[in-house]
């Protein structure tokens, strides 16, 4: 009668849904963790089942970064919230020039969320983490009532180690530096918009969601004098350049023509009244390095598959107003400001 099988009835990963008991701390939660999270994210540190992971990092300076992921739709062309949550944080770690080591993942699940979707998400997180060689070593699960969440939110936190001799920070850009971008911009934002039912448009565009730490490793190995790296996510390239200009107390002069944008992305933006400079990316980076290293850095980037369309898009200039000025494709000049509010589809 009494027996030792911990969970006599398996979690129903086909028809089941998340309910409040999955966040209660009791056996239903233990079962969710065992049969879903541990099953996919399988690694020795996680399997210990402690509330924390213990590891011995290589010597050197560490970086830590955290990001909450709240995307809608959860599944989009080129990825889902699970793969994105891995890429996003790995990239923020890598943007210090660091090698990512470990990830932590905290899930906030909404009551009623299908376990099948959760399993797909966690599986894809696991695959992504595997491919990147960066395991999810500790985690947490909470459940909120229906109407107090949005399916699933995933907050990931990463730690990584910075090679010696690398000093990368948003406040190090200097007049004379070159500004580079690692590839075509705007793909992620447009891929997401294309799944918004009411916009009714279709493209072949996939999110560029990707991990950039290997590209960064090549870059810092070849050009250790890089000053800034940042991934132009929310707010797009325009916002990231403004952030960097402000942090470093400089201005920038960029050339619209030099900025790689796919024609489909351009077309979708025209349709919706958006500007690709403000559209989110999830697998691109902005790099700023001394002007005379720029060609060398560009060559290294182009040699890596994730930087093959890299381009030098402008240079850092002195400017007390920290403006980003752009020479337009048409030959005019404009200020590229921060995004104000949200970028919404417009009619005029």
């Amino acid at each position: 009668m009494t027996q030792n099988r911990r969970f006599p009835v398996r979690l129903d990963l086909k028809q089941g849904t998340v309910d409040m008991s999955h966040g209660s701390g009791g056996r239903a939660m233990a079962q969710l963790i065992t049969e879903l999270f541990h099953r996919y994210l399988d690694n020795a540190l996680l399997a210990q089942g402690n509330d924390q992971a213990l590891f011995s990092p290589p010597p050197g300076r560490l970086v830590m970064s955290t990001d909450g992921h709240v995307i809608s739709p959860l599944f989009f062309p080129g990825g889902n919230i699970g793969s994105l949550a891995v890429h996003g944080t790995l990239n923020d770690v890598a943007m210090a020039g660091a090698r990512p080591l470990y990830l932590a993942a905290a899930f906030i699940l909404e009551e009623g969320f299908p376990l099948a979707d959760l399993a797909r998400i966690v599986e894809s997180m696991a695959d992504t983490a595997n491919q990147c060689g960066v395991p999810v070593v500790t985690g947490d699960t909470k459940v909120v009532e229906r109407g107090k969440g949005d399916g699933v939110f995933i907050t990931t936190t990463g730690v990584g180690v910075v090679p010696e001799g690398i000093h990368i920070s948003g406040d190090l850009a200097q007049p004379g530096d070159a500004v580079l971008v690692s590839g075509q911009i705007g793909d992620h934002g447009v891929a997401i918009l294309s799944k918004r039912e009411n916009l009714g448009f279709e493209t072949e565009i996939l999110s560029d969601s990707a991990a950039l730490h290997e590209l960064v490793a090549d870059m810092v190995a070849a050009v250790p004098e890089i000053h800034c790296l940042r991934d132009p996510t929310r707010g797009g390239v325009a916002t990231t350049l403004n952030e960097l200009a402000h942090q470093s107390g400089v201005g920038m002069q960029i050339r619209e023509e030099a900025i790689p944008v796919r024609p489909e992305v351009m077309a979708a933006c025209e349709l919706l009244g958006l500007d690709p400079l403000y559209v989110a990316n999830e697998g691109k980076l902005i790099a700023i390095c001394p002007g005379d290293s720029a060609e060398r850095l560009l060559a290294v980037m182009r040699a890596h598959p994730k930087g093959k369309d890299a381009a030098i898009i402008g240079e850092v200039v002195e400017d007390g107003l920290n403006f980003i000025q752009m020479e337009t494709r048409f030959g005019g000049s404009r200020v590229v400001d921060w995004l104000a509010g949200e970028q919404l589809p417009r009619i005029c």
């Binding site: 351009m266 403006f323 048409f330 005019g332 000049s333 404009r334 417009r346 009619i347 005029c348």
Partner: protein, 378 residues
């Protein structure tokens, strides 16, 4: 993109700039009002003003539907959403427009009002079909371009017998505003030598409705597309009319605008709407026969009747020069709030919201006034 990229060509632009500079008579002023915000946007985004000789100046007109919407109408829509608890559908452009008391639809939404952004009246119909128990109101704005899609939705709602959808109609008529601008121009108002006529509005209404401009006001009109070469070509056409002392309606945007316009859309508008006796335009005041309301046969779908609201006197922000800017008599930089208290993040007036608003365009593209380096290279 066909019909787009060709009209953004840098080399042709340089050549057109050269032609304008060559033909413009240095002994006179060319004060050209671009009626439409679309033109304003193109002028700033592509730096067209940089390419003009110093005696040719663009004056920004009132042709931005967001900018001319009086604050009271936003207050009214907000009251419908909050007091009558309707599901208010609106184009994204309206979300950040300041209403009384520094409020906005964005803030009302944050406070719990049920406000949905739509991209098309097709979405409005879908939302209404999906929530039959909920009263849905479409906050309709726009000139003659945006009006026919509203007409389609109204007819569809009637055909499907929807009882939960109504329309808060704020559609306005371009020629009426143009007449007001011209009637108040002159020594005390804006001084105008020519008009860049509406682009997409004209697609619908055709070029004929502008005949009164040269006839009554002795001012030339060139209907112009929204691409930068369109604007430049139309500018050259105006320069030539002025130089040659011609005064007529010309059509630069022939690929999309005919004399008679879109007759099907016009018929639809005529069926579904009636002209209001008067309507308030921000900056221009109450203009006679300048806006549309639902025709009597569709009056049961009129949100103003279904959800009457009582709003106080709207409170304009002190110091905001939007009204004067919309009449063309002031520039954004004449406003003390510009760039200090009024920025796109914290707009004080509607002209700072829409990317077609003169203040927003000026902020985004024209704020930095040092000569752009590449201007030298041209």
């Amino acid at each position: 993109m066909k019909y787009v990229d060709e009209f953004r060509d840098q080399k042709l632009a340089r050549q057109l700039a050269g032609a304008i500079a060559a033909e413009a008579n240095p002994g006179r002023q060319y004060r050209l009002m671009e009626f439409c915000g679309g033109h304003t946007h193109a002028i700033f985004r592509y730096g067209v003003q940089h390419l003009m000789p110093p005696n040719l100046r663009f004056i920004h007109g009132p042709g931005c539907p967001v900018c001319v919407l009086p604050m009271a109408r936003i207050d009214q829509a907000m009251a419908m959403a909050l007091e009558h608890e309707v599901r208010l559908c609106t184009y994204g452009d309206l979300m950040r427009v300041p209403a009384s008391g520094r409020r906005s639809l964005l803030k009302a939404k944050a406070e719990g009002a049920d406000i949905r952004m739509v991209y098309s009246t097709q979405d409005v119909l879908r939302i209404a079909r999906e929530s039959p128990d909920r009263q849905v109101v479409f906050f309709a704005i726009g000139f003659e371009t945006t009006t026919p899609p509203t007409a389609v939705a109204i007819k569809t709602a009637r055909a499907e017998g929807m009882t939960n959808l109504s329309f808060f109609c704020n559609h306005v008529l371009t020629p009426s505003a143009l007449r007001t601008i011209l009637a108040t121009a002159g020594p005390d108002g804006v001084q105008l030598d020519g008009i860049l006529g509406p682009s997409h509005v004209s697609t619908l209404i055709g070029s004929r409705p502008y005949a009164f401009v040269p006839e009554e006001f002795q001012t030339p009109v060139v209907i112009a597309g929204f691409e930068p070469l369109d604007v430049m070509q139309a500018t050259l056409m105006l320069v030539r009319q002025l130089n040659e002392e011609r005064c007529e309606v010309e059509n630069q945007y022939r690929r999309a605008v005919t004399e008679e316009g879109n007759l099907k859309a016009q018929a639809l508008m005529a069926e579904v709407f009636k002209t209001r006796e008067q309507f308030e335009w921000r900056g221009l005041g109450f203009l006679p026969r300048s806006a549309l309301a639902l025709a009597d046969t569709y009056a049961d779908l009129d949100a103003e009747q279904r959800f009457p609201v009582d709003i106080g006197e709207p409170k304009e922000v002190k110091g905001c020069e939007c009204p004067a800017i919309l009449r063309g008599v002031k520039q954004p930089t004449d406003c003390k709030l510009f760039g200090t208290l009024c920025t796109p993040e914290n707009p004080m007036g509607s002209c700072m919201v829409s990317s077609e608003g003169a203040c927003a365009a000026y902020w985004s593209y024209g704020r930095h006034r040092a000569p752009a380096p590449q201007a030298q290279a041209l």
